[in-house]
């Protein structure tokens, strides 16, 4: 990505804390640090993959960017506008430019509205000047784009398969031509073959509409298919950020290496030769994160320094950022 362009999305030191385990009215609530100090830029038309194991804050990050959860620190700037400074109404209006696709395709669609109502609703809200006929025309065109037969227009969500529901969700999100699309585990609930179809559809849409995509997934093999750059999160902090091939071939962070080695290889010969790093233990609690490097409790290379000083997230050349004292 060339640096002379202005980024579409600028995330700076974004943090999200949740209050948990409040025992009584008077005790101080504990804070769960879901996201801490996340910063990155997203260029127009770029896809950023966000990976990490469950509970590492991927989904919270997606929602925090859209201001769907309360942000505790930092800021999100979309197209030059600081979303945190907007009023409730202005924020709502700016949602035209940022849409989201959710994990559970069926549950994310209102079971009481038919496809036409679901897909056309954003148009009715954001393009009040459109006539009914125009709206219907656009809905039908969008259905063509996402590969839904026009004859389905009056059907209800429960009459569709998971893959079709996700296509409806994509049509619903893309019909307002958002500049930013956040896919939160958008394909994890689907069959592998359907996953590929949906990912390809997203890539086609991106080419057509020049949308920037943030693709959140725990599945590295899906993410690498679609992403230009990949951000690895661990315990709500950035572990590594690099272009996809750079990250895949020269991962510096031990956590990223473990993630990559866990991706199954279709060829059993390679699979046997491949030395896989298996992570022991569970992800630590985000309520009491480890001192120093958050990954040190499970890191094969952890030393005393890792417990004392938190590693900085810094550039190791060719836009490859790592937060590790002893990168590979």
């Amino acid at each position: 990505m060339s640096s002379h362009l202005n980024p579409l999305l600028h995330v700076e030191n974004l943090s999200v804390d949740f209050e948990v385990g409040r025992k009584s009215l008077f005790s101080k609530p504990k804070l769960l640090h879901a996201i801490t100090d996340v910063s990155f830029n997203l260029m127009p038309g770029e896809t950023l993959g966000i990976v990490g194991e469950s509970g590492c804050g991927k989904s919270t990050l997606g929602r925090a960017i859209l201001n769907l959860v309360k942000i505790s620190g930092g800021k999100v700037v979309l197209d030059g506008v600081d979303l945190g400074a907007l009023s409730e109404t202005e924020l709502r209006k700016s949602r035209k430019d940022m849409q989201m696709i959710f994990q559970d395709p069926l549950a994310s669609l209102n079971p009481r509205l038919n496809i036409k109502q679901i897909i056309s609703e954003p148009l009715e809200i954001f393009f009040k000047e459109l006539s009914k006929a125009d709206i219907e025309k656009r809905v039908l065109e969008m259905m063509d784009v996402v590969g839904l037969s026009r004859s389905y227009i009056n059907r209800y969500p429960h009459e569709f398969s998971g893959g079709q529901c996700q296509r409806i969700g994509i049509a619903r999100a893309m019909i307002v031509r958002p500049k930013l699309l956040i896919c939160d585990e958008a394909v994890s609930a689907l069959d592998v073959s359907i996953q590929a179809q949906i990912v390809n559809l997203l890539m086609d849409l991106q080419k057509e509409f020049k949308t920037s995509i943030i693709f959140i997934s725990h599945n590295l093999s899906v993410v690498r298919h679609i992403s230009h750059r990949i951000l690895v999160l661990y315990l709500g902090r950035m572990a590594e950020l690099a272009e996809f091939s750079e990250l895949y071939n020269h991962a510096h962070h031990p956590y990223t290496r473990a993630l990559i080695s866990a991706v199954p290889t279709p060829d059993p010969k390679i699979s046997k030769e491949k030395k896989s790093t298996i992570l022991m233990g569970d992800i630590p609690s985000p309520i009491n994160p480890p001192s120093g490097c958050p990954f040190r409790t499970r890191c094969p290379k952890a030393q005393d320094l890792c417990a004392q000083v938190r590693p900085e997230f810094k550039d190791h050349g060719s836009n490859h950022f790592v937060a590790c004292h002893f990168p590979d």
Binding site: L66, L68, R92, K93, S94, R95, K96, Q99, M100, F102, D104, A107, S108, L109, N110, P111, R112, L113, N114, E121, P122, I125, F126, Y156, H158, G169, R172
Partner: protein, 305 residues
């Protein structure tokens, strides 16, 4: 839709038959009879009365006669109110009960759904606690406490409204309030519960992410789903409330149909009890049918083929 209605009406016939059968034999199994009085009537008069009302025939014959009457729309004469047929009594009292009950349940639905929605939106805040506290009070205070309290405070102390009687609008206010309060309370609780559940669902999150204004999210996405349990409660509740409440009618002196349930049973007024039970059965079946139709409209997953 027409076929659904037709099917239901046909399906109601065996139900009604069972209701009629059970209540017919049960009321006759109860000790005592319609002409028992403190002073024993002469044998001949009792025999005469029994003959006039066909009580001297064997039970199966009486049952057959009764069924035949119902088929012709005739519920027979009342044993107690000697100048009236049961049909006359029901159709004198029912419009009164229907008026009060109908207004009460409509008010209760509107206010209850409104309060419940507010409580759900402000979950675990003071507003929520206030509404739910009011609601709990409304449910726990029985009507035989609420109604006299209302007439005592508003009717006797404040002299704002008459304590009883029937005639114009001002007579209806207190009984309607007494009928409405517990219903509001119940409906508000139901609405709050299902609304909270719906508001947490994924498709509401989608609606928020779409950028819809809150009022559209509520009206278009949340309310329809949240109303399903309320609708299924409203069916039988409406049937119950428009067929009158003995307590309320007694306390406010309203000539409704509710008192006949109790009076008929106490007086062993066989035909009156039967008439009221069958009538109530028909109303219940009717409102359940309405609920089913509303379900089909509110929830596309429910389709009647």
């Amino acid at each position: 839709m027409l076929r659904l209605i037709l099917n239901r009406i046909l399906g109601a016939i065996p139900t009604l038959f069972v209701i009629i059968g059970i209540s017919f034999f049960m009321i006759r199994m109860a000790p005592g009879g319609p002409f028992d009085q403190e002073r024993q009537l002469p044998e001949e008069i009792i025999a005469n009365l029994n003959k006039v009302y066909h009580l001297d025939e064997p039970l199966y014959q009486q049952f057959g006669r009764y069924l035949w009457g119902i088929l012709q729309g005739d519920f027979g004469p009342s044993f107690q109110y000697k100048d009236h047929t049961v049909s006359e009594l029901i159709f004198q009292g029912f419009p009164v009960s229907l008026k009060i009950g109908g207004i009460a349940i409509v008010l209760a639905a509107i206010i209850g759904i409104f309060l419940g929605t507010i409580a759900a939106l402000r979950q675990n805040t003071r507003v929520d606690y206030l509404i739910m506290g009011f609601s709990m009070t409304g449910i726990t205070i029985p009507s035989f406490v609420m109604a006299p309290l209302l007439s005592l405070v508003i009717g006797v102390y404040l002299r704002l409204l008459p304590v009883g009687g029937w005639g114009d609008l001002k007579h209806m206010v207190l009984p309607i309030i007494a009928l409405t309060l517990p219903q509001i309370a119940y409906i508000a609780r139901l609405t709050r519960g299902s609304m909270i559940e719906v508001l947490r669902s994924n498709y509401i999150r989608t609606a928020k992410a779409k950028g819809l204004p809150e009022r559209v999210i509520l009206a278009r996405h949340a309310l329809r789903g949240a109303l399903l349990p309320v609708v299924s409660y409203l069916g039988p509740a409406t049937a119950g409330i428009i067929t009158g409440s003995v307590v309320i009618e007694k306390i406010f002196g309203i000539p409704g149909i509710g008192r006949f349930f109790v009076l008929g049973a106490l007086n062993r007024d066989y035909t009156l009890v039967m008439g009221v039970v069958v009538f109530y059965g028909i109303i219940i079946i009717l409102f359940n049918l309405i609920v089913d139709i509303l379900y089909g409209i509110l929830d596309p997953k429910v389709r009647y083929e």
